[in-house]
Symmetry: C3
Subunit: 269 residues, 3 copies
């Protein structure tokens, strides 16, 4: 089976590098050296340090908003320089590259059609990479490989042999038990909204759902503006997930909620 | 009258989304899906949450540094999902799109030639948008509309009917009374400089102007380096506004000044 | 001698402007107005305010990852509006532009072949710049000059007369004395790693090197993952410099180290 990937010249970058040092800029320099017409988009560089799970979470929710043929690079890589592998998956016309540390596993698991390959020194040899440093594979491996894929000079199938099982993600999936759906906060956005791992479509299990978090019961509304200023609400957010917000406020701060805080959905009795 | 807008393929983005989540990146993905050769520039994504006024302030000072034919998108949108409108204005060869929440009103007010249109479901129907989410119109409406405008496939005039009056901005304009010009701090920059809403050209009203802020009298100088280290000064900044700085220091911190702090200009007696 | 610079249309930006205001975006608007097809890459905008040395440090380590023919603009410019000069250097096929405040001096000093020019009003006259503001030369001079260089319409040699000696950088170089190599922390990255001014190749002076910092002796390892979680280590980083890290932790915080902290390398006895 051939991978349905036709390069369009777009590359996205997701890292935990932050914006203080020129690490991301240097990756772009390497890409432009190989593919002058590349269009490079920052997805985020503020993934919490060493949280492959959160990088994979955002990537899974975002990659399909880019044109088919995009190469998505995710470098959250605490094991850089140790013998961890790099994997590439081809999923619905996109290629995603990341260390094999759980980052891509949930995406691959959700799509039975996804092709998974494991990069090898042999498969990269034709690219003429300089010997990689021990600490910055984003610049030395990911950027040039992404550029060659985005240029259409490197076929996805040439990345390496089938990957077999990927290293599993550390996150726990939501569970449904005794009429109660239990999940958790995966990330907290810039506005203090709590984004959970509960798919909004799961709300259909309930006739009069209410959401419990941090000892409070919250109504499920359609949008922020339907709650009075200061009130809490739950809603189906724009990425199809259950989200908890405070109208005009910062829910994370007001509820003292953090990543991992338990969130339950039940029927109102 | 036809709007003098000839698309050049450049789009700017101004939001309060921050850099932590991939919200801005996803907007760019949507743009590139419709217009692969779009050139997208971030103006700022650090507008204080829910401050349309500050977004409009910066946009009004910046948009003309871009090539004519640029589409400027500003999404500071506390009312997203409620029945607030989206408006577009065409001003000196540029198109600006934003929620009708006061963001664009000062720009439209200052330019009698500006054309103002109100987007409607009917006018957007030919674009084939997916049904918008209740919480992320930046991705679902603004990005695709901007892409179609920037591509030259959507005429400005086709955005919708004349907008009539826009929702007014909440900011107060400076006033001149008894020989004293009174304004306020609109924003504080990265260096701690206080940027006011007083047009620098208004200084011409005075023969020996001095500036009062936080109980101090400051001289009006030409540039930061004309004050000794640690001294305060006022100057006409590079955007044509009165600004207050501390040479080699952080004026906002040293003066305990914030957005809204009163600033007066008077003649030295 | 002609400078070996052939413009490729890429421009990098390094500033201390931060991401809160649209200053960087406006510079990009000015570039795109003159060169619509420019590809502009942010190196970093988080240089500590008024630290030309740190800007020059990063630029020296990064510029060669970009394609030859790139124009690199660095605006860390406490003297803006005072009679400081602007200089351009041509180094290994790249052009670098900055205020003459020590930022570029170390780069010029390390490359005897580098050509150094001093911009003059006369040499800029043909570019048709608007009269520059007193406080934002990034927008009014650097951006348009970079665009003209990147477009190939302005020759490097036309920037101005030979610069002679540049203003020296304030940083101190490492010293070797009595078998001990002494340097210091130049910058601290997003992960809390301490980046020193000691070239990693200098480690070859020692048969069994150990690194002393903040009262501790650290081993020199190859990569972060070779230390146990929580342990400190020194390594040759991906930019060829000695770096101090804490495996899975934040070395700067744990060691209370800051910019300027002394770092010594000695042989284990």
């Amino acid at each position: 089976m051939r991978a349905a990937f036709k390069a369009c010249g777009v590359i996205t970058l997701t890292t935990d590098f932050g914006h203080t040092e020129p690490f991301v800029g240097v990756m772009k320099g390497v890409v432009l050296t190989r593919l002058p017409q590349a269009r490079i988009v920052d997805l985020t560089h503020e993934i919490p340090s060493y949280s492959p799970r959160e990088a994979g979470f955002w990537l899974s929710r975002c990659f399909e908003y880019f044109p088919p043929g995009t190469v998505h690079v995710a470098v959250v890589d605490p094991g850089v320089g140790t013998p961890r592998d790099i994997v590439g998956i081809c999923c619905r016309g996109h290629v995603l590259l990341a260390p094999d540390n759980g980052l891509l596993e949930p995406i691959a698991r959700c799509d039975a059609q996804a092709l998974k390959l494991r990069l090898t020194a042999a498969s990269l040899a034709p690219l003429g990479l300089s010997p990689p440093s021990a600490t910055f594979h984003g610049r030395d491996i990911f950027a040039p490989v992404a550029a060659e894929l985005a240029a259409g000079r490197l076929e996805f199938a040439a990345l390496g042999p089938p990957a077999g099982d990927l290293v599993p993600s550390r996150g726990q999936d939501p569970s449904f038990d005794h009429g109660s759906l239990q999940g958790s906060v995966v990330t907290i956005d810039h506005f203090g909204n709590l984004i959970t791992n509960i798919e909004a479509r799961e709300l259909a299990r309930f006739s009069r759902p209410r959401v419990r978090v941090a000892g409070r019961d919250l109504p499920v509304l359609r949008t922020y503006g339907e709650a009075k200023p200061g009130e809490y609400l739950a809603l189906a957010n724009s990425f199809g997930l259950l989200e908890i917000a405070q109208s005009g406020g910062n829910a994370a701060r007001s509820l003292s909620a953090t990543r991992g805080t338990t969130v339950c959905v039940e029927d109102r009795t």
